[in-house]
């Protein structure tokens, strides 16, 4: 506690200052002022406050913290579970790792699972029940919203619940949810619907493809979900699809593909890696790794599909295939050869932008090839909603005025519904609108009651993965606010005698397992998956072929096709308030804090546009101003509009970032014909990587199959070689495995307390990511390559030589260490770094005031202040933790003890980290590869972070 300033010195100083403002001063007054100010300064320099320690009153059973505890649970995105281990330290979840036992990931994570921990601690999360006391337009009183309580809501609900349950009444209930796979929630929902004779369930899945569902119906007469097996495939064809990004199985697809490739490279007998063919409209991660790729508009992709399918289905009605594209001809012939060779080991995947007929044809083709049951398993959709209506049905009912009570659970239609529905007005037609969600979002602002929901990591629950495997969700922390889980809310609404989430989930899973339920419960919670709960394969009829190719008329040259895709980071807007994801550079454009309409270079030059021009798109009566970004490899005459920007009530981070593409979005299709008009305005993008061309620097190298890279020429050494006698940490990144998903970037940000800097700072090049994924245009393969760049930990580090205060030093294990408390901020080290991996805190980027953001921080990593340099440390805190663990056990470190955050998150296991002195370690094995090289090796920095060149596809 500081001492109070000496009153006399302060008063004297004030008097002197007053005199100075007056006539003039004399020498005696100046001396008095100096003495007084020195005395005042001295009193402010009090000794540091004595710190207190507050031990527990009762020590928790698991221990007092220090070591992270991992709870197996799942992150639920769009209704599907992604199995994770929630790492908790000192009682707070701070880092997410993948669950190795979970089929959707086998231990890896995507950017959303990594960023989910920030969503838990989001300071803008809804924390209280809100009640609207008067509506807009109520003449008597201005609309006002007041904080309320759960018991008040329950009382209000009971009043109308009776009317809803009355079989002779007329009150109607509509429930709108997102996709829902949770068995507990679905059972409770059915109970709630059964209580009301005029109750109906509607499902709103803004990012799911209605055409795919219609296509399955057309082909098989039922809905199916597709589980792809990349590990069994010899040839994969993706049509307007990105299996490495889209859907809940994306991480698994990438992992299976990469494992197959690794097995082939390692020479394992019988190993086969799939050859990837991509016909895509807009660049995607799958297309960037495809062995053969062609950029076509969705219409032409359908034409391609029709022509290819005709080879296996002679009964197919010949369609007007005059849309043959010369660029696609070579692609098509190679594709046919590969499909013929693969036979039943082929796999065809259709994506958003295709018509329902095309989806039906894809399924039929898979069946004809014999892929179903081999590379493709059809299962009952885990989010199947039999009898449920669509959003369009709900809007019709709302506009007809027949909806009395509308409950919106875990959905935000006021934002993400296509604007043609005019959701805000439609929602207001319901007499009682109840919204339950994580944030006070656009729909909550219109609701009569807003109920705060618990986050996935705060609740007991369950959910299913992409193949139907169930996971029990267990809380890693008690709810931060007075929230309920969705299951608990449904139990409240259904007047269920059980209200506690734990009891509800146990009741759901107890049926049929009464005998050994306790053992089952413990085993499932510990493993993070319910054993043998994957959905069984469906038996389907012979697919009905679509009658004809359903293509739109060839559009006149003045119109373009707009393709609506979820944004690569905010995923349709659900994560708009997540600073990590907003600042994540999108894989191809490297844009942050924005979305952009992508156009191909040919179309841009034809229309006289360049990156940054703002254009006005028009479809019917609706217009939207969007900034344009010229993207190579985009299909011509196609505009990609990412959904997820332009939010109005996302929170302090996400409001008004980007444009809202749902203004133009049609009711159920993902494509739309639009006209374009230049406005003459310009828009500045905050891009993290400006140069995509390598300028012959060979940063990202490629080799042909079976060839080795030329070895580095021997150079005379001025300095003695660097000796790491005990441990020599090194990292080898396999560029042939990297798909550019950015999971490593977000994982590093979560683990190392890396701050978010905002759009204007990113525009100045001050983004703080310690590992960045660079994209380079590789002419030799006519495709993009991705290269993760962490600190190289050079043995002859140029940064260490130039630090005037010795803040960056080399430790005996090869780590280039950054000592924050010595750094004075000259930035000479960053100047001298040829890889530009050092990040400087130009401003106070770390938020040191918001309590919930402080809670997310990793206590083992320093939170950096303004004025210090920081960079990748090879997760030195994980090295230390592993070493301390080994020292306690009295054993040496073994390979696999230390796993860096980036290494752990990578879905394709591209990052190999370990000890060079351990001859059996994974990283030593990786470095023996003939593809091994160091980036900018000619500079002789001797980096410990090295790369394995990417293998060019066979011609």
């Amino acid at each position: 506690m500081t001492q109070p300033p000496i009153p006399e010195a302060g008063a004297r100083l004030e008097r002197v200052i007053e005199v100075q403002r007056g006539a003039g001063v004399n020498r005696r007054q100046v001396l008095a002022a100096m003495a007084a100010s020195m005395a005042l300064a001295n009193t402010a320099c009090s000794p540091p406050p004595r710190l207190q320690a507050h031990p527990y009153v009762n020590l928790p059973e698991g221990g007092a913290g220090g070591q992270p505890m991992y709870y197996a649970s799942a992150f639920v995105r769009d209704g599907f579970a992604h199995g994770v281990l929630v790492g908790s330290q000192e009682g707070r979840p701070i880092k997410i790792e993948g669950n190795p036992a979970h089929p959707s990931s086998l231990g890896a994570t995507d950017i959303y699972a990594q960023a989910s921990v920030l969503q838990l601690w989001d300071p803008d999360r809804s924390s209280v029940v809100r009640q609207r006391l008067a509506r807009e337009g109520d003449a008597r009183v201005a609309p006002q919203i007041a904080s309320s309580t759960w018991s008040a809501f329950e009382a209000a609900w009971l009043e109308c619940a009776d009317a809803l349950a009355d079989p002779h009444g007329s009150a109607t209930l509509r429930i709108l949810t997102g996709p829902m796979t949770s068995p507990t929630e679905r059972a409770l929902l059915q109970t709630l619907l059964a209580r009301g004779p005029r109750a109906r369930w509607h499902v709103h899945a803004p990012l799911s493809d209605a055409a795919a569902a219609d296509g399955a119906w057309m082909a098989f007469g039922r809905h199916v979900a597709q589980v792809a097996h990349f590990d069994r495939a010899q040839c994969v064809l993706a049509l307007a699809a990105d299996p490495f990004s889209d859907g809940p199985g994306a991480v698994r697809h990438a992992m299976d593909w990469s494992s197959a490739r690794t097995a082939v490279r390692d020479g394992i007998a019988g190993a086969r890696a799939p050859v990837l063919f991509a016909a895509e409209a807009t660049p995607g991660l799958f297309g960037a790794r495809a062995d053969h790729r062609v950029a076509l508009s969705p219409a032409r992709i359908e034409g391609l599909l029709w022509r290819v399918a005709a080879h296996w289905m002679p009964e197919l009605t010949p369609a007007d295939v005059g849309l043959a594209d010369p660029a696609a001809a070579a692609f098509e012939s190679r594709l046919l050869a590969a499909l013929r060779e693969a036979g039943s080991s082929a796999l065809v995947i259709g994506g958003a932008g295709l018509s329902a007929e095309a989806h039906a044809l894809v399924l039929a083709l898979n069946q004809r090839l014999g892929a179903i049951g081999r590379t493709l398993t059809l299962i009952e959709p885990p989010d199947a909603a039999p009898g449920a209506g669509t959003l369009a049905d709900l809007v019709d009912a709302l506009k007809a005025g027949t909806v009395d009570t509308l409950l919106v659970l875990g959905a935000n239609p006021a934002y993400d519904a296509p604007a043609v529905f005019d959701m805000p007005h439609a929602l207001q037609r319901a007499k009682l609108l109840v919204h339950a969600g994580l944030h006070v979002d656009e729909t909550a602002r219109l609701a009569d009651w807003h109920l705060p929901l618990s986050h996935a990591y705060e609740q007991w629950g369950d959910a299913r993965a992409h193949d139907g495997t169930a996971t029990l969700l267990q809380p890693a922390i008690t709810p931060l606010y007075d929230t309920r889980s969705a299951a608990e809310l449904l139990a409240l609404l259904a007047a269920d005698p059980l209200r506690d989430g734990h009891a509800l989930v146990q009741r759901q899973w107890r049926t049929g397992r009464e005998a050994d339920f306790e053992a089952f419960w413990r085993k499932s919670l510990r493993a993070g998956v319910v054993a043998d709960s994957a959905a069984p394969p469906l038996e389907v009829q012979t697919a009905r072929l679509p009658a004809r190719l359903a293509l739109p008329a060839e559009s006149p040259s003045a119109t373009l096709t707009a393709l609506f895709v979820p944004d690569a980071a905010t995923h349709g807007g659900a994560f708009a308030n997540n600073g990590w994801l907003q600042e994540l550079p999108r894989p191809f454009t490297k844009i942050t804090w924005d979305n952009a309409a992508l156009v191909s270079p040919a179309t841009a030059s034809r229309l006289g546009m360049s990156t940054g021009d703002v254009v006005r798109l028009q479809a019917g009566m609706r217009t939207l101003d969007v900034p344009v970004f010229v993207q190579a490899q985009q299909a011509d005459d196609l505009l990609t509009l990412p959904l997820g920007g332009g939010r109005r009530h996302a929170g302090r981070v996400g409001d008004r970032v980007g444009f809202d593409a749902s203004v133009l979005r049609p009711a159920s299709a993902m494509t739309l014909a639009v006209t374009l008009q230049k406005t003459g305005r310009r828009h500045e993008f905050a891009v993290t990587q400006h140069e995509i061309d390598q300028h012959a620097r060979e940063l990202l190298r490629t080799v042909s199959v079976g060839t080795a890279l030329a070895p580095e020429p021997k150079r005379d050494q001025l300095y003695p070689p660097f000796a790491s006698p005990v441990h020599a940490w090194a990292m080898a990144i396999d560029l042939d495995a990297c798909i550019g998903c950015n999971a490593c970037t977000i994982a590093c940000q979560a683990e190392n307390n890396i701050p978010v800097v905002g759009k204007s700072q990113v525009a100045k090049g001050r983004a703080m990511h310690w590992i960045r994924v660079d994209r380079h245009d590789l002419e030799e393969i006519d495709n993009s390559g991705f290269q993760p760049v962490p600190c190289m930990h050079c043995e002859q580090a140029p940064c260490e030589l130039v630090c005037p205060v010795g803040a960056t030093v080399h430790d005996s294990e090869g780590l280039n260490v950054q000592v924050y408390n010595r750094c004075v901020g000259t930035r000479f080290c960053s100047n001298n770094c040829p890889y530009k991996v050092r990040r400087f805190n130009f401003l106070q980027y770390s938020d040191e005031t918001t309590e919930t953001l402080k809670a997310q921080r990793n206590p083992d990593v320093t939170v950096r202040e303004r004025g210090v340099m920081e960079k990748c440390t090879y997760c030195v805190q994980r090295v230390a933790r592993a070493r301390q663990h080994a020292e306690r056990e009295g054993r040496p470190l073994v390979d696999g003890d230390v796993v860096t955050a980036c290494q752990s998150a990578c879905p394709t296991r591209a990052i190999h980290f370990g000890d060079l002195n351990d001859t059996g370690s994974d990283v030593v094995h990786a470095r023996t590869s003939p593809r091994h090289y160091a980036m900018l090796a000619e500079l002789d920095t001797k980096p410990r972070t090295t790369y394995l060149a990417r293998i060019k596809p066979d011609a």
Binding site: L51, Q52, V57, N58, A64, D811, V817, T873
Partner: protein, 215 residues
Amino acid sequence: MSAVFSPRAVLVVRLAVLAVLGLAVATVMLFVWRARAYEQLGEPIAQPIPFSHKHHVGDDGIDCRFCHTTVETQAHAGLPSTAICLGCHSQLFRDQALLAQLHQSAATGQPVAWQRVHVLPDFVYFNHSVHVAKGVACVECHGRVDQMPLEWRAWPLQMQWCLDCHRNPTTHLRPASQEFAMDAPLPDPVEAGALARAAHLESRRRMTDCSTCHR
């Protein structure tokens, strides 16, 4: 030729230089005094409950680990929870006024606010469990707590002092059976060497790396 500077000017310059030098010396002395004052070596620190290690360790012979439960497994040794204290004091000296805060803590769920004696800056990541695993006794750094009626800091805990041991740890190790004893003597050089070898200490270079203690 007459002098360029008058004797008075020369005097002023000499006084000014002396004053600057004097100020520099005074500043250094001030900062050293400030740093030392913060250490407060040997100065007992008042606690909300005047816990006497002398009584509990010296007279009653309670082992360190009974209360500081996580010293062998985690970075922090851990201050005892109220429940640990009440393990005995729910029976012993139950109605003493000195222990009223303890019972109040258990009743209200508010922890006892102890004043910290051994505090390291936040940029030092000290790990007790590794030191204990290698054979560093408690008395090595915390002094003879069994002679402290109120805890005080026996050693400065400055980086220089830590490095003195890290540069030559052999002379500071004890056998595992004697790490928690108060009066165990340091072993002779031969035995110390054997202990150091058995402990598989890291190299001196590693133990003085910045990244060993700072991240």
